[in-house]
């Protein structure tokens, strides 16, 4: 059986080989060319009538969508930038306002402080003047008392020494002594 099959195979191969290359079998050429032209025309019609317009429209549509999306993204970006600018401006305004309020408050407080300080100074000055006056009075009265006491003592001393107490001359002497 094996020899038979190998013989059959060899015979088959030889039979085909006798015919040579199928590519050079000119009797099939009209058939090939005819069906090739039919195929090409059909492919051309399929492509031009159906496939290419559809694919190009899909691609154009996608391109359009991408362009639109990019434009929308650009728009959104612009808006975001605007919003950021507004936010920054508001922030700067608020900061300036806070600065202003702080300055004002500080000035107010300073003014209050100054006023209070002035008032206190004035009070202190008044009180110290009063006190100085009182001290001066006290000193005055003390001086008077000293004079009197000195005159009394001097008279008493003079009297005790057996002198004659002359009130006027004693006072003058005391005064002279106190001045000296």
């Amino acid at each position: 059986m094996t020899t038979q099959s190998s013989e059959a195979a060899a015979g088959h191969a030889a039979e085909v080989a006798e015919k040579g290359m199928p590519q050079l079998d000119f009797s099939t050429f009209p058939n090939q060319i005819f069906w090739l032209l039919v195929t090409l025309v059909v492919v051309y019609l399929i492509l031009t009538k159906l496939a290419l317009p559809r694919i190009s429209s899909v691609l154009a549509e996608r391109q359009g969508t991408i362009t639109n999306d990019l434009a929308a993204a650009e728009e959104l970006k612009r808006k975001a930038e605007d919003a950021e600018g507004a936010y920054n401006k508001a922030l700067a305004d608020a900061r300036a306002e806070a600065q202003r309020i702080a300055t004002e408050t500080r000035a107010e407080i300073q003014a209050d402080l100054d006023r209070a300080m002035e008032k206190a100074n004035a009070e202190i000055a008044a009180k110290s003047a009063e006190a100085a006056k009182a001290i001066a009075e006290i000193r005055e009265s003390a001086m008077e008392t000293v004079k009197d006491v000195a005159a009394d003592v001097a008279r008493d001393v003079v009297v005790a020494l057996g002198g004659k107490a002359d009130k006027r001359s004693i006072t003058a002497a005391v005064n002279a002594r106190l001045k000296g």
Partner: protein, 250 residues
């Protein structure tokens, strides 16, 4: 069972048999209208293109599904190629280039399915494709530029004495274009498939069967690359020829 086939009479199966064109229904001679296995696979290529580019994009999703993004990728790939190579005024020929590219790339990849038939491995097919490009580009060149199209062969930057010689060389290379254009595609695809078959034939000898299977896998990967690169090359050469027709001056 085929392990004993090393009778010296050749391979177990013929590497060229896969390219044989047979009538799909019944026997008999192949007339020009006969539906053959090649017709079937061309129809399947059309169906694949339809599924990929029409059904796949039918949802018109803004965020594409996988199939839709493949279609869009192919569209963008060829559109950019035409725009880059030919220029802005070449965009109106984009549908023709796209037709060529889609047909070739889908046929190449369908041909990689085991037991399938590779349409683009036939010289007749690629020759017609290349001749369509050649004739179309030549007519377009004369329509767009009139007799000025012949400036393509007159290399004005070369020394005057050399110009006639260069003109002859340019003329020959211009007429060789469709030949190399078509044989490159068919030859690459046919070579890849034939080599896979040869490796698969070695698998009949048990001693080297693992090695040959490894070779089949490696060649299959190589053919995946070739299938795309050859479609790309065919398309970009079409674009280059189109550019020559639209702007013939060197």
């Amino acid at each position: 069972m085929a392990a004993e086939a090393e009778g010296g009479t050749g391979l177990v199966f013929h590497p060229m048999k896969q390219f044989k064109i047979e009538p799909l229904f019944g026997e008999g001679p192949i007339h020009w209208y006969t539906i053959t296995n090649q017709t079937l696979w061309m129809a399947l290529a059309v169906l694949t293109i339809f599924l990929l580019l029409v059904v796949g994009t039918s949802r018109r999703a803004l965020v594409p599904s996988r199939i839709q993004s493949v279609g869009e990728l192919a569209y963008g790939f060829i559109y950019r190629m035409v725009e880059d190579v030919v220029g802005k005024d070449g965009v109106k020929y984009f549908p023709y280039v796209m037709t060529l590219f889609m047909f070739i790339v889908v046929s190449n990849f369908l041909g990689l399915i085991p037991f399938s038939f590779t349409t683009t491995s036939h010289i007749a097919i690629t020759a017609v494709l290349a001749l369509l490009v050649f004739v179309g580009v030549t007519i377009l060149g004369f329509v767009k530029n009139g007799i000025g199209f012949l400036k393509l062969f007159w290399v004005s930057s070369a020394p005057a004495a050399l110009r006639p010689v260069l003109a002859i060389i340019e003329l020959i290379s211009y007429f060789v274009r469709p030949v190399s254009h078509s044989i490159r595609l068919a030859g690459n695809i046919m070579a890849g498939h034939a080599v896979i078959k040869v490796f698969a034939g070695f698998a009949a000898v048990l001693a080297i069967a693992p090695l040959s299977l490894l070779g089949v896998v490696a060649m299959f990967g190589m053919d995946m690359l070739v299938a795309f690169v050859q479609a790309y090359v065919f398309t970009i050469l079409t674009c280059v020829y189109l550019k020559d027709a639209l702007h013939p001056s060197h």
